[in-house]
Amino acid sequence: MTFFLHSLAQGTAYLTDPIFLLIIVAGTLWGVIGGIHPGGSATLSVGVALPFTFVMDGPQAVAFLLSVLVGINFANSLPSVLIGVPGTPSAVLTAQDGFQLHQRGETGTALGIVYLASIFGQFVSIIFFVAFVVPLSNLAYLFLSPELFAMALLGMTAVVGLAGRSIVKAVISAAVGLAVALVGLDPLENVPRFTLGLSDLQDGVNPIAVVIGLLAVSEVIRQCRQVYPWSVGKIRLRSIKFPNRAVLRRILRPALLGTTLGVVIGIAPGASAEAASYMAYQQAKAMSKTPEEFGKGSIEGIAANESAQQASQAGDLIPTLAVGIPGGSTMVLILAALTLHGLVPGPLLIKQSPELLFGAVGGLLGAAVFLALIGWMMAKVAARLAGVDRSVILVLALALTLIGVYSVDQSMFDVGVCLVFGFVGYFMLRYGYAVAAAALGVILGDDIESTLRQGILIADGSFLTFVSRPVTAVVLALAAVLLAYGIRSEWRSRRRPPASPDEGLLDVEAETAEPQSH
């Protein structure tokens, strides 16, 4: 309880630092701009922003990236309401109900609920976040090398097992990512490996360059395949009115439900904001006195969906920071940002660097306060921002990504690495290989190898140590179950015949192919 209150107090204390506040404001605005464009992805927005953290310290970097996510999760629903196209996949259900309200002339009501439910979900989920992350991080005291290896492996299998359509391809992705992490000096024997005779590879590949290439560059190249504008009709800002009290009373229950489900589902590794928002929407419908309104402009549906989206981010952050298991690709990027500052993702993260937890609390809280102050105004001007040419955004995002990657170590070699993995990542994305699993492999690979070998060393060369230690055995069993679940799901989906000849030929969007946090 003491550490719980201490974490909240420390996180709040960060907000008295003007630089920290400036970083949060910049992050939130970045997220809003990234989220407001239909068809974008949270991974792309966070990926482009990630290299900028090279000028920040660890807590600032975490706060910056989290405020980007808060901004995205708020703004991705604005185009859903205004043009019926979600900014990111987790806002699909808001598009269904919000756009109907907009067409009926109730734009203010729809935008107001998006605004209020997002803020509500954000504030309440921070309490959940600290309440869960503290006891989980205390488990770290039980961990030695074998347990650390098992936890890292669990993180990998969570992303692989829940990767989507092809578990075999996800396994390849993870193995390739882990193999890339082996490049450079062996951590125990200090001999060079897989350096191809290049001196730039003596210290290994820069994980930031690889991760940005796999997750961000590949996604932009994929999006460049299609050029089409979003038509935003003329909307009179003065006609957008804030919802009245009766509406606000109706959304309180679904917003609380959405927040709770968002956190709980977000905690599960591999579960995404999409899963949280879908489940919250269905539960809100089941508990509603007016279920017939769902899908036709339900304010309760929007409230549940929005609060779940925001809360799932805090939930997702719990395993990421507490035990080093990221829930999806955006959390992989946050772990990548930590490696940039010399921090090792894993169960010992909070134990060794508690300031990261405080920074995360400060970031989530600051972004929520900032959105509370200017979110309504942003919602009203969203229509104009959403109309910006998508082609321009994509090209400038690419240019900015490259200069960002260069800036991390002022190395053109890193830019080349980023491009190579961007190219590989593009084909992986298109052909069903989980890029998030590969990126996570790159981040955790070094740790997995070191802890495996150290674990065997402390057991005098015996592999039995991984099954004789209770925590290790349980965690490895859990990893095996997750993998088995993924194999079973894929096997069942392959046996099921497609409902129509077109099914399977065209899938909805990139984000459905693998777990994405937000």
């Binding site: 075999v168 396994v171 193999a179 062996d186 001999v191 082609s391 260069y406 800036s407 070998r453 899938d507």
Partner: protein
Amino acid sequence: MDKRVDLTVATGFLAFGIWLLVASFRIPQGSVPDSIGSGGVARILAVVIILAAGYLVARRLVGWRRTAGATVPAEGSSDNPDHPASARRGLGIFGLLVAYAFGVRYLGYPIATPIFVGVALYVMGVVSWVRLVALSVLYTVVSYGLFVGFFGVLLPLGVLSTWDYYLWFHF
């Protein structure tokens, strides 16, 4: 998705796995070797990749005749079905990126960037010359000012390196 490209990608991973296995045996021995060794994890990963990619290649080849044409159900991310897609445009932009990376090195950031942004925007369908020039110049100036002036990054100047005193904001 195109089954031929799918097969090529799987074959690429198979080749990578074989290379990894071969290369793992060439790692020099350290002075204090452990039971797994420097190449042990790499060998495990290589075997996993070879088995998994081999399975994908075999599965695709065995079922080759079962699907008429080159298109098979998608396993990755597809395009928005309501709009035309161009693989050439996507890969063309990637080609421009590679050229840009070389251009930054030899021409310098202030020259290569507006050229890249302008050409890439044109490829993406922006045809107004005013917009092309304005966006290219504006982006270059703002990004240069931000990274050099604010973040203190020394961007490559290429042929402009003799002007470094002025371009690195020493004033």
